[in-house]
């Protein structure tokens, strides 16, 4: 173990290096670019003994990754935003062919309008693609969760790929100290990749991803569903082993000051630390505030969330994507479903879109509203908590004014 300095992208590269991939295929995209670049450096300098395949798109990157890993090597790739959207089709192939790829995804808004900045719309659009999803809250956690993700994804009862998601700029470009295991200790934990079930071998040819008749297709999906069920159990075991070896606690759901809380927020990603900071401030004032952070979004830890939140009367869920057309943001929908039949009141918040900062002030506003509801002084919240009041007047086009 050594304290090293990494930004989020650097931590992702370090985790990949420690897992010793044999093939790398990545296409650079802001704010992921330095992952693709540094992986190329590591290969050029002989620090990673891998074939680095230059590809012309993310669709090709994921196709390369799937094909290569099916031959029996661990592969590496990484993406963000529209790059992930372009991968969408092949992400389904990886999941359905049970190729346990572990991929860092640097969270960035989807189009339109174009944005380079952070929100969760990219990975939320992939939430039902058949990948496990972990959301990091610190740079340390990027390294930790990625190392664990190899073990969870590659477990023979899981065989399901993972996205290790972390917020663009807030984590990808934040330089932080990272307790880093030695190459030997990390390798002893991650272990060599062993292909299981389907494989590509020119001497032993088989069809993979062929047209599957209806009479078997449901069963293929059911197998994936069982993989997710198993992933929840395996994640628990792997997190426990990781803590024993490296001393850092990881969990599907992190609870913060929830035991006696009267109001709580549910967060995901880099906003969580800021939320905890405000919880501390409120606690100093004698206000019973708490926070629940979802670290593993797929499989969704519904039981743990229900157990942690069951006694908290007022809950606000902060979604960093808009969930357009839904009754609320995607995280809030799932939390509400987990708590269905309970007496809590759950309110959805949407904000932090396309890099809008979720500050301590944002959380003070949210907690203020939740406390008003708890006190019976209000019965609704400002769902879009950081939208500008002039939203409906912006970018209005006056057509044909000269006609």
């Amino acid at each position: 173990m050594a304290i090293k300095m990494f930004d989020g992208n650097g931590a992702a590269v370090e985790a990949i290096r420690l897992a010793r991939p044999g093939v790398i295929a990545a296409y650079p995209i802001t704010p992921q670019s330095s992952i693709a670049e540094h992986l190329a450096d590591e290969v050029a300098e002989g620090k990673i003994n891998a074939e680095y395949i230059r590809v012309e798109s993310e669709h090709s990157a994921m196709s390369m990754a799937v094909g290569a890993q099916l031959t029996g090597v661990r592969v590496a790739t990484a993406t963000a935003s529209v790059g992930l959207a372009l991968m969408h089709e092949v992400c389904g192939v990886a999941a359905g062919c049970r190729v346990p790829i572990v991929m860092p995804v640097v969270n960035r808004s989807l189009v339109a309008p174009w944005s380079l900045w952070c929100d969760h719309s990219d990975t939320m659009a992939e939430r039902d693609t058949g990948w496990l999803q972990f959301y990091c809250s610190t740079v340390q956690e990027i390294l930790d969760l990625q190392l664990c993700a190899y073990r969870i994804s590659e477990h023979e009862n899981v065989m399901t790929p993972s996205m290790v998601c972390f917020d663009g700029f807030y984590l990808s470009h934040s330089m932080q100290r990272v307790d880093t295991p030695s190459d030997e200790d990390a390798w002893d934990f991650v272990k060599p990749y062993v292909r299981k079930n389907m494989y590509l071998d020119t001497k032993d040819v088989m069809f993979i991803n062929d047209l599957c008749p209806t009479v078997e297709h449901t069963e293929m999906k059911y197998q994936q569903k069982v993989g997710f069920d198993e992933a929840a159990k395996v994640a628990k075991e792997v997190f426990a082993e990781y803590e024993e070896r490296f001393g850092r606690k990881l969990q599907a759901v992190e609870t913060y000051c929830l035991e006696d809380a009267e109001v709580a927020v549910v967060t995901m990603g880099s906003m969580s630390g800021t939320g905890k900071y405000v919880v501390n401030q409120l606690r100093e004032q004698g206000i019973k505030a708490g926070l629940l952070r979802i670290c593993m979004f797929r499989p969704f830890p519904a039981e743990e969330i229900k157990e942690a939140l069951k006694n908290i009367p007022i809950i606000g869920v902060v979604d960093r994507s808009s969930g357009l057309g839904a009754a609320q943001g995607p995280v809030c929908s799932e939390v509400k479903a987990a708590l269905s039949g309970m007496d809590n009141k759950v309110f959805g918040y949407v904000g932090g879109i396309a890099g809008r900062d979720i500050s301590d002030g944002s959380f003070r506003k949210i907690f203020g509203e939740l406390l008003d509801i708890h006190a019976g002084k209000a019965d609704a919240v400002t769902t879009w908590f950081d939208v500008r009041p002039d939203a409906m007047d912006m970018r209005e086009v006056e057509t044909n004014v000269n006609v």
């Binding site: 300095m5 930004d7 380079l116 630390g273 890099g355």
Partner: protein
Amino acid sequence: MQKIKFYGIGGQGAVTAAKILSIAVSLHQSEYAITVPAYGHERRGAPVFAHIIVDDKPVLLNCYVYEPDIIVVFDENLIDMGVNVGEGCTEDTIMVINASNQEIVDRYKKEYGLKKVYACNATEAALKNIGLNIPNSAMLGALAKSGVVKIEAIEKAVTESFGKVGEKNGNAARYAYEHTWEA
């Protein structure tokens, strides 16, 4: 906890400087830091901001700095570029500025009501020691005068971070530190 905001122009290395400051306090002072850069879609020539929070314990906050304890101004022309470096400042806010003369410093002090100012001709320090107009290492040296970080920690972090030109950058930081005046 110290909240610091860097103001620069694309190409001056302000975002890199934020990362190096994090290295200096984390590795060489056993403290903690987070850094959040914020720049426009443009690169060279456009205003660039970086937000840094330093503490002696792990930093929970992971957002922009709105009420800075210290502002670091990498370019004296920012005042004429519509960038309000005084945003969120009080008279206790310390400014560290790359300035060619006292007159420009006085303009900043008057415009933003700042009292505690450290000024340094970081551009000159960079040209003299590195031969390039990239003032970031020199500005970190000047920042050390504010007491938020030790000059030795900055020198080490700068030297480690710039590879072949590490020593020259370390010299620029030291030179700037020694030529910073309380303005």
